[in-house]
Protein backbone atom coordinates (compact mmCIF):
# COMPACT_ATOMS: atom_id res chain seq x y z
CA UNK A 1 0.00 0.00 0.00
CA UNK A 2 2.57 2.44 1.20
CA UNK A 3 5.64 2.82 -0.83
CA UNK A 4 5.93 0.15 -3.42
CA UNK A 5 4.52 -3.21 -2.62
CA UNK A 6 6.13 -6.59 -2.84
CA UNK A 7 3.73 -7.36 -5.64
CA UNK A 8 5.15 -4.60 -7.74
CA UNK A 9 8.67 -5.88 -7.76
CA UNK A 10 7.61 -9.46 -8.35
CA UNK A 11 5.50 -8.39 -11.25
CA UNK A 12 8.45 -6.59 -12.77
CA UNK A 13 10.76 -9.49 -12.14
CA UNK A 14 12.97 -9.62 -9.11
CA UNK A 15 15.08 -6.53 -9.17
CA UNK A 16 17.86 -6.39 -6.67
CA UNK A 17 17.73 -2.61 -6.53
CA UNK A 18 14.08 -2.60 -5.66
CA UNK A 19 14.61 -5.15 -2.95
CA UNK A 20 17.43 -3.21 -1.41
CA UNK A 21 15.38 -0.07 -1.46
CA UNK A 22 12.19 -1.55 -0.14
CA UNK A 23 13.55 -4.08 2.24
CA UNK A 24 16.89 -2.67 3.25
CA UNK A 25 16.27 -3.27 6.88
CA UNK A 26 15.24 -6.86 6.20
CA UNK A 27 18.51 -7.32 4.36
CA UNK A 28 20.33 -5.93 7.36
CA UNK A 29 18.57 -8.45 9.56
CA UNK A 30 19.36 -11.32 7.24
CA UNK A 31 22.97 -10.24 6.95
CA UNK A 32 23.28 -10.14 10.72
CA UNK A 33 21.72 -13.57 11.01
CA UNK A 34 24.02 -15.03 8.38
CA UNK A 35 27.07 -13.65 10.17
CA UNK A 36 25.84 -14.98 13.50
CA UNK A 37 24.95 -18.44 12.28
CA UNK A 38 28.29 -18.64 10.59
CA UNK A 39 30.22 -17.64 13.69
CA UNK A 40 28.21 -19.46 16.34
CA UNK A 41 27.03 -23.04 16.13
CA UNK A 42 24.12 -22.48 18.47
CA UNK A 43 22.59 -19.49 16.79
CA UNK A 44 20.48 -21.33 14.26
CA UNK A 45 19.31 -24.10 16.59
CA UNK A 46 15.52 -24.28 16.94
CA UNK A 47 15.87 -23.73 20.64
CA UNK A 48 17.80 -20.52 20.16
CA UNK A 49 15.46 -19.28 17.47
CA UNK A 50 12.60 -19.72 19.92
CA UNK A 51 14.69 -17.93 22.53
CA UNK A 52 15.16 -14.97 20.24
CA UNK A 53 11.49 -14.84 19.43
CA UNK A 54 10.48 -15.11 23.05
CA UNK A 55 12.98 -12.44 24.01
CA UNK A 56 11.72 -10.19 21.25
CA UNK A 57 8.07 -10.61 22.07
CA UNK A 58 7.84 -8.10 24.90
CA UNK A 59 9.66 -5.30 23.13
CA UNK A 60 7.89 -6.35 19.96
CA UNK A 61 4.42 -5.96 21.48
CA UNK A 62 5.36 -2.56 22.87
CA UNK A 63 6.74 -1.54 19.50
CA UNK A 64 3.59 -2.58 17.68
CA UNK A 65 1.51 -0.31 19.90
CA UNK A 66 4.10 2.42 19.57
CA UNK A 67 3.82 2.19 15.78
CA UNK A 68 0.20 3.31 15.93
CA UNK A 69 1.14 6.26 18.10
CA UNK A 70 4.14 7.33 16.05
CA UNK A 71 2.19 7.06 12.80
CA UNK A 72 -0.06 9.84 14.13
CA UNK A 73 3.01 12.01 14.87
CA UNK A 74 2.80 11.14 18.55
CA UNK A 75 5.09 9.33 20.92
CA UNK A 76 4.40 7.23 23.99
CA UNK A 77 7.11 7.44 26.61
CA UNK A 78 4.94 5.87 29.29
CA UNK A 79 4.99 2.28 28.05
CA UNK A 80 7.75 1.18 30.40
CA UNK A 81 5.87 2.42 33.45
CA UNK A 82 2.62 0.93 32.22
CA UNK A 83 4.44 -2.38 31.89
CA UNK A 84 5.17 -2.18 35.60
CA UNK A 85 1.78 -0.86 36.68
CA UNK A 86 -0.30 -3.38 34.76
CA UNK A 87 2.11 -6.13 35.74
CA UNK A 88 1.79 -5.32 39.44
CA UNK A 89 -1.95 -4.86 39.41
CA UNK A 90 -2.71 -8.02 37.50
CA UNK A 91 -0.17 -9.93 39.56
CA UNK A 92 -1.83 -8.79 42.76
CA UNK A 93 -4.95 -10.54 41.49
CA UNK A 94 -3.12 -13.66 40.43
CA UNK A 95 -0.80 -14.27 43.35
CA UNK A 96 -1.09 -16.91 45.98
CA UNK A 97 0.92 -14.77 48.36
CA UNK A 98 -1.31 -13.61 51.15
CA UNK A 99 0.64 -10.43 51.83
CA UNK A 100 1.14 -9.19 48.29
CA UNK A 101 -2.24 -10.15 46.84
CA UNK A 102 -5.44 -8.17 47.12
CA UNK A 103 -8.43 -9.59 48.92
CA UNK A 104 -9.72 -12.77 47.43
CA UNK A 105 -6.61 -13.45 45.38
CA UNK A 106 -5.80 -15.57 43.51
CA UNK A 107 -8.53 -14.87 41.00
CA UNK A 108 -8.72 -16.74 37.73
CA UNK A 109 -5.98 -15.67 35.33
CA UNK A 110 -8.49 -14.33 32.85
CA UNK A 111 -9.82 -11.89 35.43
CA UNK A 112 -6.32 -10.71 36.25
CA UNK A 113 -5.55 -10.26 32.58
CA UNK A 114 -8.69 -8.32 31.84
CA UNK A 115 -8.07 -6.02 34.78
CA UNK A 116 -4.48 -5.55 33.62
CA UNK A 117 -5.59 -4.66 30.12
CA UNK A 118 -8.10 -2.20 31.54
CA UNK A 119 -5.37 -0.57 33.57
CA UNK A 120 -3.29 -0.13 30.43
CA UNK A 121 -6.19 1.12 28.37
CA UNK A 122 -7.04 3.61 31.10
CA UNK A 123 -3.56 5.07 31.39
CA UNK A 124 -3.45 5.21 27.61
CA UNK A 125 -6.83 6.87 27.58
CA UNK A 126 -5.71 9.51 30.04
CA UNK A 127 -2.53 10.25 28.12
CA UNK A 128 -4.49 10.24 24.88
CA UNK A 129 -7.05 12.66 26.21
CA UNK A 130 -4.35 15.03 27.35
CA UNK A 131 -2.72 14.88 23.94
CA UNK A 132 -5.78 14.89 21.74
CA UNK A 133 -8.18 17.12 23.60
CA UNK A 134 -5.96 19.39 25.61
CA UNK A 135 -3.34 19.81 22.90
CA UNK A 136 -0.42 19.03 25.18
CA UNK A 137 2.59 17.76 23.21
CA UNK A 138 2.69 13.97 23.30
CA UNK A 139 6.22 14.03 24.67
CA UNK A 140 5.11 15.97 27.73
CA UNK A 141 1.84 14.14 28.30
CA UNK A 142 3.42 10.71 28.17
CA UNK A 143 6.48 11.81 30.11
CA UNK A 144 4.07 12.86 32.82
CA UNK A 145 2.41 9.48 32.60
CA UNK A 146 5.82 7.77 32.73
CA UNK A 147 6.44 9.40 36.08
CA UNK A 148 2.91 9.12 37.44
CA UNK A 149 2.38 5.48 36.49
CA UNK A 150 5.69 4.49 38.08
CA UNK A 151 4.67 6.29 41.25
CA UNK A 152 1.28 4.61 41.25
CA UNK A 153 2.98 1.25 40.83
CA UNK A 154 5.13 1.88 43.89
CA UNK A 155 2.18 3.13 45.91
CA UNK A 156 0.00 0.21 44.91
CA UNK A 157 2.62 -2.38 45.73
CA UNK A 158 4.15 -0.56 48.66
CA UNK A 159 7.43 -0.71 46.83
CA UNK A 160 7.64 -4.46 46.98
CA UNK A 161 7.43 -7.05 44.26
CA UNK A 162 4.41 -9.33 43.95
CA UNK A 163 5.71 -12.91 43.87
CA UNK A 164 4.11 -16.36 43.71
CA UNK A 165 1.89 -16.00 40.67
CA UNK A 166 -0.54 -18.79 39.87
CA UNK A 167 0.62 -21.35 37.28
CA UNK A 168 -2.44 -20.48 35.26
CA UNK A 169 -1.36 -16.84 35.03
CA UNK A 170 2.24 -17.77 34.45
CA UNK A 171 1.21 -19.78 31.43
CA UNK A 172 1.03 -16.62 29.31
CA UNK A 173 4.73 -16.15 29.95
CA UNK A 174 6.08 -19.66 30.20
CA UNK A 175 3.60 -21.97 28.49
CA UNK A 176 3.68 -23.10 24.92
CA UNK A 177 1.21 -23.98 22.19
CA UNK A 178 2.35 -26.78 19.90
CA UNK A 179 5.90 -26.14 20.95
CA UNK A 180 5.71 -22.39 20.31
CA UNK A 181 6.11 -20.28 23.47
CA UNK A 182 2.89 -18.46 24.37
CA UNK A 183 4.54 -14.99 24.34
CA UNK A 184 5.58 -15.65 20.77
CA UNK A 185 2.08 -16.74 19.84
CA UNK A 186 0.64 -13.60 21.43
CA UNK A 187 3.21 -11.44 19.68
CA UNK A 188 2.36 -13.04 16.35
CA UNK A 189 -1.35 -12.55 16.95
CA UNK A 190 -0.91 -8.92 17.91
CA UNK A 191 1.23 -8.40 14.85
CA UNK A 192 -1.31 -9.90 12.49
CA UNK A 193 -4.17 -7.95 13.97
CA UNK A 194 -2.20 -4.71 13.89
CA UNK A 195 -1.19 -5.37 10.34
CA UNK A 196 -4.77 -5.99 9.32
CA UNK A 197 -6.05 -2.95 11.15
CA UNK A 198 -3.42 -0.63 9.71
CA UNK A 199 -3.56 -1.82 6.13
CA UNK A 200 -7.12 -2.95 5.70
CA UNK A 201 -9.46 -0.91 7.84
CA UNK A 202 -10.68 2.64 7.81
CA UNK A 203 -9.26 3.21 11.24
CA UNK A 204 -5.85 2.20 9.92
CA UNK A 205 -6.08 4.60 7.01
CA UNK A 206 -7.14 7.37 9.35
CA UNK A 207 -4.13 6.72 11.54
CA UNK A 208 -1.91 7.30 8.51
CA UNK A 209 -3.92 10.30 7.39
CA UNK A 210 -3.86 11.96 10.79
CA UNK A 211 -0.10 11.58 10.88
CA UNK A 212 0.46 12.45 7.24
CA UNK A 213 -1.63 15.61 7.24
CA UNK A 214 -3.90 16.30 10.21
CA UNK A 215 -5.47 19.23 8.46
CA UNK A 216 -6.41 17.25 5.41
CA UNK A 217 -7.73 14.49 7.63
CA UNK A 218 -9.93 16.92 9.47
CA UNK A 219 -11.16 18.59 6.31
CA UNK A 220 -12.08 15.17 4.98
CA UNK A 221 -14.41 14.70 7.91
CA UNK A 222 -12.20 12.48 10.04
CA UNK A 223 -12.49 12.89 13.78
CA UNK A 224 -8.81 13.54 14.37
CA UNK A 225 -9.21 13.87 18.13
CA UNK A 226 -10.78 10.46 18.44
CA UNK A 227 -8.18 8.74 16.29
CA UNK A 228 -5.41 10.27 18.36
CA UNK A 229 -7.08 9.19 21.56
CA UNK A 230 -7.51 5.62 20.33
CA UNK A 231 -3.88 5.10 19.40
CA UNK A 232 -2.82 5.86 22.96
CA UNK A 233 -5.42 3.46 24.27
CA UNK A 234 -4.03 0.80 21.95
CA UNK A 235 -0.48 1.52 23.02
CA UNK A 236 -1.47 1.47 26.70
CA UNK A 237 -3.36 -1.81 26.39
CA UNK A 238 -0.49 -3.44 24.52
CA UNK A 239 1.98 -2.17 27.10
CA UNK A 240 -0.20 -3.76 29.75
CA UNK A 241 -0.21 -7.02 27.83
CA UNK A 242 3.57 -6.89 27.60
CA UNK A 243 3.78 -6.12 31.30
CA UNK A 244 1.70 -9.16 32.21
CA UNK A 245 3.73 -11.42 29.98
CA UNK A 246 6.85 -10.03 31.61
CA UNK A 247 5.51 -10.71 35.09
CA UNK A 248 4.39 -14.17 34.06
CA UNK A 249 7.78 -14.92 32.57
CA UNK A 250 9.82 -13.78 35.51
CA UNK A 251 7.37 -15.27 37.96
CA UNK A 252 6.89 -12.12 39.94
CA UNK A 253 5.90 -8.58 39.15
CA UNK A 254 8.55 -6.01 39.96
CA UNK A 255 7.95 -2.36 40.65
CA UNK A 256 11.03 -1.44 38.67
CA UNK A 257 10.06 -3.54 35.65
CA UNK A 258 10.13 -1.90 32.26
CA UNK A 259 12.44 0.97 33.07
CA UNK A 260 13.69 2.56 29.83
CA UNK A 261 11.69 0.11 27.69
CA UNK A 262 10.27 3.04 25.77
CA UNK A 263 13.60 3.66 24.11
CA UNK A 264 13.90 0.15 22.73
CA UNK A 265 10.30 0.18 21.56
CA UNK A 266 10.71 3.48 19.76
CA UNK A 267 13.99 2.25 18.34
CA UNK A 268 12.31 -0.81 16.86
CA UNK A 269 9.69 1.39 15.22
CA UNK A 270 12.18 3.87 13.81
CA UNK A 271 14.65 1.23 12.69
CA UNK A 272 11.70 -0.39 10.95
CA UNK A 273 11.35 2.70 8.79
CA UNK A 274 8.50 4.53 10.45
CA UNK A 275 9.07 8.25 10.53
CA UNK A 276 8.81 10.13 13.81
CA UNK A 277 7.14 12.92 11.88
CA UNK A 278 4.19 10.69 11.22
CA UNK A 279 2.26 9.27 8.33
CA UNK A 280 4.99 7.04 6.94
CA UNK A 281 5.76 3.51 7.94
CA UNK A 282 4.85 -0.12 7.90
CA UNK A 283 4.02 -2.41 10.73
CA UNK A 284 6.10 -5.14 9.09
CA UNK A 285 9.04 -2.78 9.42
CA UNK A 286 8.44 -2.63 13.16
CA UNK A 287 8.46 -6.41 13.31
CA UNK A 288 11.79 -6.49 11.53
CA UNK A 289 13.13 -3.68 13.70
CA UNK A 290 12.20 -5.51 16.88
CA UNK A 291 13.70 -8.75 15.58
CA UNK A 292 16.88 -6.94 14.63
CA UNK A 293 17.27 -5.64 18.16
CA UNK A 294 16.44 -9.07 19.60
CA UNK A 295 18.85 -10.92 17.34
CA UNK A 296 21.56 -8.40 18.10
CA UNK A 297 21.17 -8.78 21.85
CA UNK A 298 21.02 -12.54 21.62
CA UNK A 299 23.89 -12.80 19.19
CA UNK A 300 26.24 -10.62 21.18
CA UNK A 301 25.50 -12.61 24.32
CA UNK A 302 25.87 -15.87 22.45
CA UNK A 303 29.24 -14.90 21.13
CA UNK A 304 30.29 -13.88 24.61
CA UNK A 305 31.25 -10.36 23.57
CA UNK A 306 32.36 -8.49 26.63
CA UNK A 307 29.71 -6.27 28.07
CA UNK A 308 31.43 -2.94 27.51
CA UNK A 309 32.28 -3.77 23.93
CA UNK A 310 28.74 -5.00 23.42
CA UNK A 311 27.46 -1.53 24.10
CA UNK A 312 29.79 0.02 21.57
CA UNK A 313 28.97 -2.65 19.02
CA UNK A 314 25.24 -2.27 19.52
CA UNK A 315 25.47 1.42 18.85
CA UNK A 316 27.44 0.83 15.70
CA UNK A 317 25.21 -1.99 14.50
CA UNK A 318 21.98 -0.05 14.90
CA UNK A 319 23.31 2.83 12.87
CA UNK A 320 24.82 0.51 10.28
CA UNK A 321 21.57 -1.41 9.87
CA UNK A 322 19.62 1.76 9.26
CA UNK A 323 22.24 3.00 6.85
CA UNK A 324 21.83 -0.19 4.85
CA UNK A 325 18.17 0.61 4.58
CA UNK A 326 17.54 2.81 1.62
CA UNK A 327 13.77 2.70 2.04
CA UNK A 328 13.81 5.78 4.17
CA UNK A 329 12.42 8.64 2.28
CA UNK A 330 14.85 11.35 1.48
CA UNK A 331 12.12 13.70 0.54
CA UNK A 332 12.49 16.40 3.06
Amino acid sequence: MFKKKAGDSIAKGININTIVRDYGILLALILLMVILSWSNQYFLTPRNILNVLRQTSINGILALGMTFVILTRGIDLSVGSVVALAGIVSASLATTSSTAGIMGAPYPAVVAIIVGLLVGATTGGIAGTIVARLNVPAFVATLGMLSAARGLTLIYAGGRPVPALTPEFRWIGTGDILGIPVPVVIFAAVFLISWWVLTRTRFGRYVYAVGGNPRAAKTSGINVTRIKLYVYVISGALAALAGMILAARTGSALTQAGIAYELDAIAAVVIGGTSLSGGIGRISGTLIGALLIGVMNNGLDLMGVESYYQQVLKGVLIVAAVMLDQTRNRHE
Binding site: Q55, G159, R160, T250, G251, S252, Q256, D301
Partner: protein, 306 residues
Protein backbone atom coordinates in the same frame (compact mmCIF):
# COMPACT_ATOMS: atom_id res chain seq x y z
CA UNK B 1 37.34 -30.64 28.34
CA UNK B 2 37.28 -27.31 30.19
CA UNK B 3 34.15 -26.58 32.20
CA UNK B 4 32.13 -23.81 30.64
CA UNK B 5 30.94 -21.44 33.34
CA UNK B 6 28.72 -18.43 32.89
CA UNK B 7 28.31 -15.58 35.31
CA UNK B 8 25.06 -13.65 34.99
CA UNK B 9 25.26 -10.42 36.92
CA UNK B 10 22.58 -7.78 37.16
CA UNK B 11 24.69 -4.99 35.75
CA UNK B 12 28.30 -4.02 35.25
CA UNK B 13 28.07 -0.27 35.08
CA UNK B 14 28.76 0.48 38.74
CA UNK B 15 31.96 -0.07 40.64
CA UNK B 16 30.86 -2.77 43.03
CA UNK B 17 29.94 -5.31 40.38
CA UNK B 18 32.98 -4.27 38.44
CA UNK B 19 35.15 -5.29 41.38
CA UNK B 20 33.16 -8.48 41.63
CA UNK B 21 33.66 -9.26 37.95
CA UNK B 22 37.33 -8.39 38.06
CA UNK B 23 37.80 -10.70 41.05
CA UNK B 24 36.20 -13.49 39.07
CA UNK B 25 38.66 -13.02 36.28
CA UNK B 26 41.51 -12.99 38.80
CA UNK B 27 40.52 -16.38 40.17
CA UNK B 28 43.48 -18.77 39.98
CA UNK B 29 41.52 -21.28 37.90
CA UNK B 30 40.67 -18.64 35.33
CA UNK B 31 44.23 -17.36 35.22
CA UNK B 32 45.46 -20.87 34.75
CA UNK B 33 43.03 -21.39 31.90
CA UNK B 34 41.28 -24.27 33.61
CA UNK B 35 37.80 -22.89 33.05
CA UNK B 36 36.05 -21.15 30.20
CA UNK B 37 34.38 -18.16 31.85
CA UNK B 38 31.82 -15.82 30.26
CA UNK B 39 30.32 -12.85 32.10
CA UNK B 40 26.86 -11.66 31.11
CA UNK B 41 25.73 -8.11 31.84
CA UNK B 42 22.09 -8.17 32.92
CA UNK B 43 21.65 -4.45 32.22
CA UNK B 44 19.65 -4.04 35.45
CA UNK B 45 16.68 -5.91 34.02
CA UNK B 46 15.27 -9.18 35.38
CA UNK B 47 14.08 -10.15 31.95
CA UNK B 48 17.45 -9.65 30.32
CA UNK B 49 18.94 -11.93 32.93
CA UNK B 50 16.35 -14.55 32.19
CA UNK B 51 17.09 -14.27 28.49
CA UNK B 52 20.76 -14.78 29.24
CA UNK B 53 19.96 -17.93 31.17
CA UNK B 54 18.16 -19.23 28.14
CA UNK B 55 21.20 -18.43 26.07
CA UNK B 56 23.46 -20.29 28.50
CA UNK B 57 21.14 -23.28 28.58
CA UNK B 58 21.12 -23.34 24.80
CA UNK B 59 24.88 -23.32 24.78
CA UNK B 60 25.05 -26.09 27.38
CA UNK B 61 27.05 -24.32 30.03
CA UNK B 62 28.30 -26.54 32.84
CA UNK B 63 27.52 -24.21 35.71
CA UNK B 64 26.11 -20.74 36.22
CA UNK B 65 26.98 -18.09 38.78
CA UNK B 66 24.02 -15.83 39.35
CA UNK B 67 23.78 -12.34 40.81
CA UNK B 68 20.11 -11.56 40.31
CA UNK B 69 18.56 -8.11 40.23
CA UNK B 70 15.69 -9.40 42.29
CA UNK B 71 15.23 -12.12 44.84
CA UNK B 72 11.95 -13.37 43.37
CA UNK B 73 12.29 -12.63 39.71
CA UNK B 74 15.43 -14.74 39.45
CA UNK B 75 13.65 -17.93 40.46
CA UNK B 76 12.27 -18.78 37.04
CA UNK B 77 15.71 -18.58 35.51
CA UNK B 78 17.15 -20.82 38.22
CA UNK B 79 14.38 -23.33 37.76
CA UNK B 80 14.96 -23.43 34.02
CA UNK B 81 18.65 -24.13 34.55
CA UNK B 82 17.81 -26.76 37.12
CA UNK B 83 15.56 -28.53 34.64
CA UNK B 84 18.38 -28.47 32.13
CA UNK B 85 20.63 -30.02 34.76
CA UNK B 86 22.88 -27.01 35.17
CA UNK B 87 23.91 -26.11 38.71
CA UNK B 88 23.36 -22.47 39.69
CA UNK B 89 25.46 -20.83 42.37
CA UNK B 90 24.00 -17.66 43.80
CA UNK B 91 26.31 -14.86 44.69
CA UNK B 92 25.78 -11.50 46.41
CA UNK B 93 21.98 -11.57 46.15
CA UNK B 94 19.84 -14.50 47.18
CA UNK B 95 17.22 -16.11 44.96
CA UNK B 96 13.92 -17.43 46.24
CA UNK B 97 14.24 -20.88 44.71
CA UNK B 98 14.77 -24.30 46.17
CA UNK B 99 16.65 -25.17 43.05
CA UNK B 100 19.55 -22.88 43.80
CA UNK B 101 22.52 -25.19 44.23
CA UNK B 102 24.42 -23.03 46.68
CA UNK B 103 24.71 -19.42 47.73
CA UNK B 104 27.71 -17.29 48.59
CA UNK B 105 26.77 -13.90 49.90
CA UNK B 106 26.51 -11.48 52.68
CA UNK B 107 23.35 -10.82 54.58
CA UNK B 108 22.05 -7.39 53.57
CA UNK B 109 19.85 -7.17 56.62
CA UNK B 110 22.96 -7.52 58.73
CA UNK B 111 24.84 -4.77 56.88
CA UNK B 112 21.84 -2.50 57.09
CA UNK B 113 21.79 -3.11 60.80
CA UNK B 114 25.51 -2.58 61.16
CA UNK B 115 25.67 0.71 59.31
CA UNK B 116 22.67 2.12 61.10
CA UNK B 117 24.15 1.01 64.38
CA UNK B 118 27.39 2.83 63.61
CA UNK B 119 25.50 6.03 62.90
CA UNK B 120 23.27 5.65 65.95
CA UNK B 121 26.19 4.93 68.23
CA UNK B 122 27.98 7.98 66.91
CA UNK B 123 25.06 10.24 67.74
CA UNK B 124 24.53 8.59 71.11
CA UNK B 125 21.24 6.91 70.24
CA UNK B 126 19.54 10.28 70.14
CA UNK B 127 18.76 12.84 67.48
CA UNK B 128 17.58 13.08 63.90
CA UNK B 129 18.72 10.99 60.96
CA UNK B 130 17.90 10.64 57.29
CA UNK B 131 17.93 7.46 55.24
CA UNK B 132 18.97 7.50 51.60
CA UNK B 133 17.60 4.40 49.97
CA UNK B 134 18.40 2.32 46.92
CA UNK B 135 15.90 1.86 44.12
CA UNK B 136 12.61 1.04 45.80
CA UNK B 137 11.69 -2.58 45.45
CA UNK B 138 15.16 -3.90 44.76
CA UNK B 139 16.12 -6.75 47.08
CA UNK B 140 19.14 -4.99 48.53
CA UNK B 141 17.07 -1.91 49.30
CA UNK B 142 14.38 -3.96 50.99
CA UNK B 143 16.83 -5.94 53.11
CA UNK B 144 19.08 -3.07 54.03
CA UNK B 145 16.09 -1.00 55.03
CA UNK B 146 14.94 -3.88 57.18
CA UNK B 147 18.32 -3.84 58.88
CA UNK B 148 18.26 -0.05 59.23
CA UNK B 149 14.89 -0.23 60.94
CA UNK B 150 16.03 -3.00 63.28
CA UNK B 151 18.80 -0.80 64.57
CA UNK B 152 16.53 2.23 64.74
CA UNK B 153 14.07 0.26 66.84
CA UNK B 154 16.75 0.01 69.46
CA UNK B 155 16.95 3.78 69.71
CA UNK B 156 13.47 5.11 70.32
CA UNK B 157 14.82 8.62 70.77
CA UNK B 158 16.00 8.82 67.22
CA UNK B 159 13.62 10.17 64.61
CA UNK B 160 13.92 9.57 60.89
CA UNK B 161 13.18 13.00 59.45
CA UNK B 162 13.36 11.94 55.84
CA UNK B 163 13.65 8.76 53.87
CA UNK B 164 13.94 8.85 50.08
CA UNK B 165 15.48 6.96 47.25
CA UNK B 166 18.49 8.22 45.35
CA UNK B 167 18.66 5.09 43.20
CA UNK B 168 22.19 4.17 44.33
CA UNK B 169 23.36 7.37 42.63
CA UNK B 170 25.84 9.83 44.05
CA UNK B 171 24.54 12.78 42.06
CA UNK B 172 20.94 12.13 43.09
CA UNK B 173 21.89 11.74 46.72
CA UNK B 174 23.83 14.96 46.59
CA UNK B 175 20.80 16.87 45.33
CA UNK B 176 18.58 15.20 47.87
CA UNK B 177 20.87 16.06 50.74
CA UNK B 178 21.28 19.65 49.58
CA UNK B 179 17.53 20.04 49.72
CA UNK B 180 17.25 18.36 53.11
CA UNK B 181 19.93 20.55 54.57
CA UNK B 182 17.85 23.50 53.50
CA UNK B 183 14.57 22.09 54.75
CA UNK B 184 16.02 20.98 58.10
CA UNK B 185 18.74 23.46 58.91
CA UNK B 186 20.78 22.31 61.88
CA UNK B 187 18.50 19.36 62.45
CA UNK B 188 20.12 16.39 60.80
CA UNK B 189 22.68 14.52 62.91
CA UNK B 190 23.17 11.38 60.93
CA UNK B 191 22.96 10.03 57.39
CA UNK B 192 22.28 6.38 56.72
CA UNK B 193 23.18 5.76 53.10
CA UNK B 194 22.23 2.35 51.89
CA UNK B 195 25.33 2.30 49.77
CA UNK B 196 28.61 4.19 49.68
CA UNK B 197 27.84 6.16 46.55
CA UNK B 198 24.88 7.81 48.21
CA UNK B 199 26.75 8.44 51.45
CA UNK B 200 29.45 10.14 49.39
CA UNK B 201 26.86 12.27 47.69
CA UNK B 202 25.60 13.38 51.08
CA UNK B 203 29.12 14.32 52.09
CA UNK B 204 29.53 16.46 48.98
CA UNK B 205 26.27 18.20 49.75
CA UNK B 206 27.39 18.92 53.29
CA UNK B 207 30.64 20.35 52.02
CA UNK B 208 28.82 22.43 49.44
CA UNK B 209 26.65 23.87 52.18
CA UNK B 210 29.81 24.94 54.02
CA UNK B 211 29.02 22.65 56.92
CA UNK B 212 31.42 20.46 58.80
CA UNK B 213 31.37 16.86 57.70
CA UNK B 214 32.60 15.91 61.16
CA UNK B 215 29.35 17.20 62.63
CA UNK B 216 27.46 14.42 60.90
CA UNK B 217 27.55 10.69 61.44
CA UNK B 218 27.53 9.16 57.99
CA UNK B 219 27.67 5.56 56.94
CA UNK B 220 27.46 3.61 53.75
CA UNK B 221 27.80 0.03 52.62
CA UNK B 222 30.04 -1.77 50.09
CA UNK B 223 33.51 -0.32 50.63
CA UNK B 224 34.02 1.13 47.18
CA UNK B 225 37.31 2.90 46.61
CA UNK B 226 36.05 6.44 47.05
CA UNK B 227 34.44 5.42 50.31
CA UNK B 228 37.67 3.90 51.55
CA UNK B 229 39.42 7.17 50.82
CA UNK B 230 36.68 9.00 52.62
CA UNK B 231 36.92 6.72 55.64
CA UNK B 232 40.60 7.37 55.68
CA UNK B 233 39.88 11.08 55.94
CA UNK B 234 37.50 10.41 58.78
CA UNK B 235 34.44 11.61 56.91
CA UNK B 236 32.31 8.51 56.99
CA UNK B 237 32.04 4.89 57.96
CA UNK B 238 31.62 2.05 55.56
CA UNK B 239 31.06 -1.62 55.72
CA UNK B 240 33.04 -3.64 53.28
CA UNK B 241 31.07 -6.11 51.31
CA UNK B 242 33.71 -8.46 50.06
CA UNK B 243 32.94 -8.69 46.38
CA UNK B 244 36.08 -10.69 45.83
CA UNK B 245 35.07 -13.37 48.30
CA UNK B 246 31.56 -13.52 46.92
CA UNK B 247 32.82 -13.90 43.38
CA UNK B 248 35.71 -16.25 43.90
CA UNK B 249 33.82 -18.35 46.40
CA UNK B 250 31.00 -18.78 43.94
CA UNK B 251 33.40 -19.71 41.18
CA UNK B 252 35.09 -22.36 43.32
CA UNK B 253 31.70 -23.84 44.02
CA UNK B 254 30.71 -23.65 40.37
CA UNK B 255 33.85 -25.48 39.28
CA UNK B 256 33.32 -28.01 41.96
CA UNK B 257 29.79 -28.73 40.79
CA UNK B 258 30.76 -28.65 37.15
CA UNK B 259 33.51 -31.23 37.45
CA UNK B 260 32.86 -34.84 38.24
CA UNK B 261 36.01 -35.28 40.29
CA UNK B 262 36.62 -33.97 43.73
CA UNK B 263 37.81 -30.36 43.66
CA UNK B 264 39.87 -28.33 46.05
CA UNK B 265 39.07 -24.66 46.16
CA UNK B 266 41.81 -22.49 44.74
CA UNK B 267 40.94 -19.05 45.99
CA UNK B 268 42.73 -17.73 49.04
CA UNK B 269 39.48 -16.50 50.54
CA UNK B 270 38.85 -19.83 52.16
CA UNK B 271 42.09 -19.39 54.01
CA UNK B 272 41.44 -15.78 54.92
CA UNK B 273 37.92 -16.22 56.19
CA UNK B 274 38.11 -18.78 58.91
CA UNK B 275 34.46 -18.11 59.69
CA UNK B 276 33.52 -19.49 56.32
CA UNK B 277 34.85 -23.04 55.91
CA UNK B 278 34.74 -24.83 52.54
CA UNK B 279 33.27 -28.00 54.03
CA UNK B 280 33.89 -29.97 50.86
CA UNK B 281 31.90 -27.52 48.84
CA UNK B 282 28.64 -29.13 49.77
CA UNK B 283 27.05 -26.49 52.00
CA UNK B 284 24.03 -24.80 50.56
CA UNK B 285 24.98 -21.45 52.00
CA UNK B 286 28.24 -19.61 52.57
CA UNK B 287 27.97 -16.37 54.43
CA UNK B 288 30.75 -13.94 53.63
CA UNK B 289 31.28 -11.79 56.71
CA UNK B 290 30.95 -8.02 56.56
CA UNK B 291 34.02 -6.09 57.53
CA UNK B 292 33.62 -2.65 59.01
CA UNK B 293 36.18 -0.38 57.39
CA UNK B 294 38.28 1.24 60.07
CA UNK B 295 41.23 3.54 60.22
CA UNK B 296 43.31 0.45 60.90
CA UNK B 297 42.37 -1.71 57.96
CA UNK B 298 41.67 0.96 55.39
CA UNK B 299 45.20 1.20 54.01
CA UNK B 300 45.42 -2.50 53.52
CA UNK B 301 42.10 -2.52 51.74
CA UNK B 302 43.17 0.35 49.53
CA UNK B 303 46.33 -1.50 48.61
CA UNK B 304 44.27 -4.40 47.36
CA UNK B 305 42.50 -2.11 44.90
CA UNK B 306 45.67 -1.09 43.10
Amino acid sequence: EMPKIGAAVYGLNAEFMQIWAAALEQHPAVLAGEVDLTIFDGRYDALVQQDQFETMITQEFDAIIFVPIDIDAGATAVDAAFEAGIPVIGSNTRVNSDNLTAYVGSDDVKSGYMEAKIVLDAIGCEGEVVIIEGPIGQSAQISRLEGNLLALAECPNVTVVEQQTANWSRAEAQTLMENWLTAYPGVIDGVIGQNDEMALGAIEAIKAADLNVEDFAIAGIDGITDALLSVKMGEMSSILQDARAQAQGALDLAISYASDDAYDPQSDIWVNYTDMPWNGGTDSEYSVPWTPVTAENVDALLDMRK
